[in-house]
């Protein structure tokens, strides 16, 4: 592990306000997929910066956008002072010597029809590295360095195991002596005992060649093991950034807390205070207004009159809102609307059943019960939008109205959550109640 660099050292990579949207494939426009939506962070020289998040949160797109394998829509990426997003083709190719990528899937990221030697040699050929006869030696050296045998030069990838294939991928990434490597889930396809070996190899290589890593992973224990700093992503946004140990010991953001508590610990006595999130992440085509995590957040700010509700009661309300949101979505396309008009809707559970399922177990304050009943009536009448809006009016708070700012919560640790504002309880305090 490397210490934080001296102050005179500029960071190697500076990402600022990066946005990558995927256009809509529908004929009549529609919202783009906001895969990366305004992400900013820095990576110091020799550092390992980790990005964690669930699948679909945009972490791979982020890594690819930084290397310009995807076209970003706005924002800047500076590498050693150069603005990457404005580089022309020729400059970009020259720059790519400095930055490489190791891909997630060792079976699909290397060409089955090429020998190992040719695979590792390919970047050398493309960038005209040295004299052709030197390249051969360079490849043997690389194979040896990543723990393969020089005689593997003429073998084909199918003769290797998953771990060995990943070593081939690493050798290829190292070929041009880059400064910066994006590791996209380098070990997630491997067994634990093989994982450990690849992680050790990556650490050794970093020491030897002064590499800077951006590690993308969903496995938090891997991140904790090799990263100096970590960023937690959710739905295209960086929710929290901080030094690894600090972030794992005292996570500030509700999402980080939930994510960390969901890791199954290899210890049968652990795991009493798990926070289980409801539902699944919403579509990045249509992210929630306000905070992107607001539809699943167990720490959501409530209105004063709802603060006395129990967690279970609040969950029922949130679930009811989810159901209505989904139902409304069923009527978004013109075809669906026509079908609804004609009474040819797909069968759904009658709303009374949904309500009784969710709300009959406990007694709610009168005002809440009234709103729920009113909503149910609106649904029966077919006024889905009105029903959803009524619930929104009654229950929504700042979490759904405003995008949270990034708040400095500790030295080097920043988190996006309204609860860090002085007028609300910190997530930590909220939990301890």
């Amino acid at each position: 592990m490397t210490e934080q660099n001296d102050e005179q050292d500029d960071p190697l990579v500076v990402v600022d306000g990066l946005r990558t949207y995927y256009g809509s494939e529908r004929l009549l426009g529609g919202e783009p997929v906001k895969a990366v939506d305004g992400v900013s962070f820095e990576i110091a020289r020799g550092e390992t910066f980790g990005i964690v998040g669930e699948s679909g949160c945009g972490k791979t797109t982020l890594g690819r956008s930084i290397l310009r394998l995807e076209d970003a829509d706005s924002g800047t990426v500076e590498f050693d002072g150069t603005d990457l997003l404005s580089l022309g083709r020729r400059d970009l190719k020259a720059w790519r010597r400095n930055a490489q990528m190791v891909y997630q899937n060792p079976t699909s990221s290397i060409n089955e029809r090429m020998t190992v030697g040719r695979i590792v040699r390919e970047p050398l050929d493309i960038h005209d590295w040295g004299m052709p006869h030197d390249r051969r030696n360079r490849v043997s050296e690389l194979l040896d360095r990543v723990g393969l045998q020089p005689e593997h030069y003429h073998r084909y990838p199918h003769q290797f195991s998953g771990g060995q294939r990943q070593r081939i991928g690493i050798a290829r990434a190292l070929a041009l002596e880059p400064d910066f490597i994006v590791l996209d889930e380098p070990v997630s396809a491997l067994d634990v005992s093989v994982q450990a070996k690849i992680l050790n190899l990556l650490l050794d290589l970093q020491d030897e060649y002064d590499l800077t890593y951006l590690l993308i992973a969903h496995d938090l224990s891997v991140v904790r093991h090799i990263c100096d700093r970590v960023g937690v992503m959710y739905l295209g946004k960086l929710m929290e950034v901080g030094p690894t140990e600090q972030l794992f010991r005292s996570p500030s953001n509700p999402y980080t807390r939930a994510l960390l508590s969901a890791i199954p610990q290899p210890d049968p006595d652990a795991g009493a205070d798990r926070i289980t999130l409801r539902g699944t992440p919403p579509s990045p085509r249509n992210p929630p207004t306000g905070c992107v995590f607001s539809t699943r957040c167990p720490f959501k700010i409530r209105r004063e009159e709802h603060e006395s509700l129990t967690t279970e009661q609040w969950d029922s309300i949130e679930e009811f809102r989810d159901v209505l949101r989904e139902r409304e979505k069923l009527r978004t396309t013109p075809l669906q609307r026509v079908k609804a008009r004609l009474g040819r809707e797909p069968p759904v559970t009658p709303i009374e059943e949904v309500v009784s399922e969710l709300f009959e177990l406990s007694t709610y304050p009168e005002s809440v019960q009234e709103t729920v009943d009113q909503t149910a009536t609106l649904v029966v009448e077919g006024e889905f939008t009105a029903a959803r809006e009524l619930l929104e009016e009654t229950f929504s708070t700042v979490c759904e109205h405003e995008r949270p700012d990034q708040h400095q919560v500790a030295d080097g640790q920043a988190s996006r959550c309204h609860r860090h504002l002085s007028e609300y309880e910190e997530p930590r305090e909220f939990l301890s109640e």
Binding site: V192, A196, Q265, P266, G271, L277, R327, P347, T349, V354
Partner: protein
């Protein structure tokens, strides 16, 4: 979670499912692969047995063998025993096949030579027999017995929900098909039952979901649907083959919670296969560690994590990132899992084992108690390891002798010995 005493009470109640010396072999032109090679374990009622191991260790083949789903060129060795102990099921089978029943304890008079039903206690005769305790050996049973067991007694939750569901039928269609086959439900009745099932696995607004296709479901919901399919016929045993491996941690937590709730609500016994030690620690009551087709260590979950004894288990636990202190190199296990393509006459872990000695190459370790204190507490349920280092309070010579003796009947005539033990 179970402690030692609960594990013991499981012994008196008897297991619900027991596997004895299961051997599943794949015969190909090039080689013979002993994918499962002498595996024994028991699943107690309403308990979870975790089976953990790296890829290629034979976990999934074990589960498929139990359900009779091993296809050519794979074959379950006829001397293997997979026994299902539910009295009601045994009674039904015993009445259907009265001439293939054997009574435990009195082998001579009433036993058939090709018997696959064993009755330990019961009364009556022929097609009016009543069974209080007994078992059906699924390996020797005819196909229709296995078929009647599949789904309604033992069901499987597959690893990859996306491929386990049929993409061209709606979710409702797939559940209703099962209900039709196994319970004869159709029409509105089936729709209601299907919606109830989806609701019980935590899918909100189930009736709307019934008319949707699997691709409209998120990964977590697909897995919930696969669980709903497995529960459709109200099984007593659920075989879960890596049910959460393809999921994100927050979704994994939801699914594990769901399985735990269903286990209580429906009194399920679960065989949970995974490679993730963290998941095992969370869900299992007892754990069997598999390596190259064999169970190398078995213990209650607390004991296994507190005092892992087999060098492989120790190595596996140490190589999990996060347990080692931060920044250190992870301890690793050299080499990789061998393909078990020859009979085990030696310890398959020896080439990678830091504690291997000369005899490991020539003596096949059998499952023995890790120390003699364990032996007294019923050795199948207690802490056992297949390693020449154990039982650890014996001298090396005695240990070798012991492993030889355990191994001996295997070579001569396993069939008769195993039968007579019954």
């Amino acid at each position: 979670m179970t402690d030692e005493s609960q594990a013991m009470s499981g012994v008196t109640d008897g297991p619900l499912l027991s596997v004895e010396n299961l051997r599943t072999t794949f015969y190909t032109d090039q080689e013979t692969i002993h994918a499962v090679d002498g595996v024994s374990f028991t699943v107690s009622p309403q308990q979870t047995l975790g089976v953990v191991g790296e890829s290629g260790s034979g976990k999934s083949v074990t589960a498929r063998s139990i359900l009779g789903l091993v296809d050519d060129p794979g074959r379950v060795h006829p001397d293997s025993e997979i026994r299902y102990h539910d009295p009601a099921f045994v009674q039904t089978v015993a009445r259907t096949y009265p001439d293939r029943v054997t009574w435990a304890g009195e082998k001579t008079a009433r036993s058939a030579s090709d018997a696959f039903v064993t009755i330990e206690s019961g009364s009556g005769e022929g097609s009016s027999v009543t069974v209080e305790r007994g078992s059906v050996n699924l390996v020797a049973a005819p196909d229709d017995v296995t078929r009647s067991l599949r789904g309604s007694e033992v069901a499987m939750v597959f690893q990859d929900a996306q491929t386990a569901l049929n993409p061209v039928y709606t979710v409702g269609n797939q559940i209703k098909e099962l209900l039709d086959i196994h319970q004869g439900l159709s029409g509105t009745e089936a729709t209601e039952a299907a919606a109830d099932l989806l609701e019980s696995v935590g899918i909100p607004d189930p009736k709307r979901r019934l008319s949707e296709y699997p691709h409209q479901f998120s990964g977590g919901m697909q897995q919930r649907t696969v669980i709903a399919l497995a529960l459709a016929c109200d099984p007593a045993v659920l075989l879960c083959d890596e049910p959460t491996t393809a999921l994100d941690v927050t979704i994994q937590a939801q699914i594990l919670e769901l399985l735990e709730r269903l286990q209580h609500e429906r009194n399920l016994s679960i065989l949970f296969i995974t490679h993730d030690m963290g998941v095992i620690a969370q869900v299992a009551d007892a754990v069997a560690v598999m390596y190259a087709g064999e169970v190398v260590e078995q213990a209650s979950v607390d004991r296994l994590f507190d005092q892992p004894r087999h060098p492989y288990t120790q190595g596996l636990l140490q190589s999990i990132p996060g347990l080692a202190s931060e920044g250190d190199r992870l301890p690793t296990i050299d080499g990789r899992v061998p393909t078990p393509n020859e009979p085990a006459t030696y310890c398959r872990y020896a080439p990678r084992c830091p504690e291997a000695f000369e005899e490991c190459k020539s003596t096949h370790p059998e499952r023995v108690p890790v120390d003699s204190a364990n032996e007294k507490s019923g050795w199948m349920r207690a802490h056992t390891a297949a390693c020449l280092l154990y039982p650890e309070d014996e001298s090396l010579e005695d240990r070798l002798q012991m492993h030889h003796n355990f191994g001996a009947p295997d070579e001569s005539d396993a069939a008769t010995t195993a039968r007579e033990d019954d």
